[in-house]
């Protein structure tokens, strides 16, 4: 890694820093202690919630993350929910109809959407809904004058979330939709589908009530992975809508080479991803009735 550690941490330039300043910061950041000692201190710090200090931002990293993470979550979690549900519904319906003109149209549209870069999508939505029609705000999380009262303030926040969430949703539906559509289409050849049809059940009913429970596991895995990675935020959405979230924090950390911030963010990300992956795996196992009953019988 280029550059002197101390100067990198503190953000000063080699030419302008004086001897005393350098010694002072070296002492303060502890860069002159042995590596193992520094690492041990870091681990201890993590257990108490201290993720270090960022000189670039002049703030504790844990407070930086605590301020930005909710913003990212407010956009990402609804987006995952809406896009997963929509993709599931659309994918199941179209999967049953695979080969029909309707399915061709929808799938083609989804493929086109998939090719759209998200920043273009975001800018188009802003241009249309915020500037041309004036229905929705063009960015930020609150209006300049937040209306009084919790209900009005909540509505204000909701209005500001619509476009970023919509951009994220439209960008993430296609891949999920395609996966579900194809899986459902393959499942149509299964025996239980034939039997269900023979009982006079409609295709839509079969798609949701019969096929979906069988493809639940890959679907859950997909959603679970999305949730895990939500912590890293979406840089593009945050940039277009001027929202201070994890994505911009991480990318600023990269360009400014603010290693403590990157360490902190990536650590939090890793923990969240591990937890959600475990949870998803666990959930997948539970969903399989065979496993549930074996466990039950064993007791």
């Amino acid at each position: 890694m280029p550059g002197d550690t101390v100067l990198m941490l503190v953000g000063m330039d080699e030419e302008t820093v004086t001897e005393e300043q350098y010694a002072y910061y070296q002492e303060k950041t502890g860069a002159n202690r042995p590596v193992m000692e520094q690492f041990w201190d870091y681990l201890k710090g993590i257990c108490t919630g201290d993720l270090g200090y960022s000189y670039h931002h002049n703030a504790d990293i844990s407070s930086l993350i605590a301020a930005r993470l909710p913003n990212t979550l407010q956009i990402a979690l609804p987006a995952i929910l809406i896009s997963s549900l929509t993709a599931m519904v659309l994918g199941c319906i179209m999967g049953m109809k695979k080969g029909s003109p309707a399915e061709h149209a929808v799938t083609s549209m989804q493929i086109i959407f998939d090719a759209f870069p998200s920043f273009l999508l975001g800018l188009l939505l802003i241009a249309l809904f915020a500037f041309k029609l004036g229905w929705l705000p063009s960015g930020a999380l609150n209006s300049i004058r937040v209306p009084n009262g919790p209900a009005a303030a909540f509505c204000d926040r909701l209005k500001h979330l619509v476009l970023p969430v919509l951009t994220l949703v439209l960008g993430t539906i296609p891949s999920k939709y395609l996966m579900i559509c194809n899986t459902v289409a393959l499942q149509r050849k299964e025996k239980y589908v034939l039997y269900a049809r023979s009982r006079g059940l409609s295709d839509t009913y079969i798609a949701f009530r019969h096929i979906f429970p069988n493809i639940c596991q890959p679907f859950l895995t997909m959603v679970g992975m999305n949730v895990g990675f939500v912590v890293s935020g979406s840089l593009i959405i945050e940039n277009i809508f001027s929202i201070k979230g994890m994505g911009s924090l991480i990318s600023q950390g990269i360009t400014a080479r603010d290693y403590p911030v990157l360490q902190g963010c990536l650590f939090v990300s890793a923990v969240v991803i591990v937890i959600t992956t475990l949870a998803t795996d666990f959930l997948c196992i539970l969903v399989d009735p065979k496993v549930r009953y074996k466990v039950h019988e064993a007791q």
Binding site: G99, K189, K191, Y192, L194, Y195, A196, R197, S198, R199, G200, L201, S202, R209, H210, P213, N214, C216, P289, K290, Y293
Partner: protein, 267 residues
Amino acid sequence: MRLEVAQLHITAQMKGGTFSTVVQNICLSVETGKRLAIVGQSGSGKTMTAMAILGLLPENCSALGHVVWNGIDILSLNARQRRSYLGTDFALIPQSGADFLNPSLKVGTQFREVLRRARIERSLQGTLMHRLLSGTGFDDPAQILRSYPFQLSGGMAQRVVMAMAAAGNPHLVIADEPTRGIDQENIRVFLANLNTLFKDSAILLITHDISVAAACDEILVMNDGHVIESAPARILLQHPKAKYTRRLICNLPTAYTSKKEALINDA
């Protein structure tokens, strides 16, 4: 009520675009209260014929000819209209219940679907399901309804799908190889259940088993997509006209050893 199949042709479009004939010129008929057995080797087109009648042919197949039920040629109807017969007039008892039930849903859930389709009131559904399951020989219907298909043995699953088929009071029941892999004792039980549950229905029984075919009113022999011979059961078994039929009868697993001997002597 009567099912009449005339000049049924089924063609399938293969990968690569070529067409192949699945069955040709199939004619059969069966009335409510009567049983027709369709007998033949694997690949003779028995199941496809049954699927054509029900309207459940795979996407790459198309059927020509006439399938007349109660005076209406249902082959000329669209998919929606054909679906209206399934679960109401027509019912299917599939080959092996365990394979055809949805592994992720409880038996009870799948059973209720038939009852809902037959527009039976919710409060009466439970009683009916219990009655039907007890009727097929289950001691603890409630337990069965709570179970998942993987918790049932092959025989149990078979009885369940039979009970399910009966729930809608169908006028035509098609049973596709319902006794495959089941021992003699259970075959007798099966035939008994068939009598009780579907007394007034027309039954189309696809089978390999001569003892089961013998229990029917009429037997239709198929091979390679054609009808070889068709006659009332006793006549066919005692005086098979076609050579193929004779060979088939000799080769089929049978409990009627005396019959077999008689046939050999005859030939």
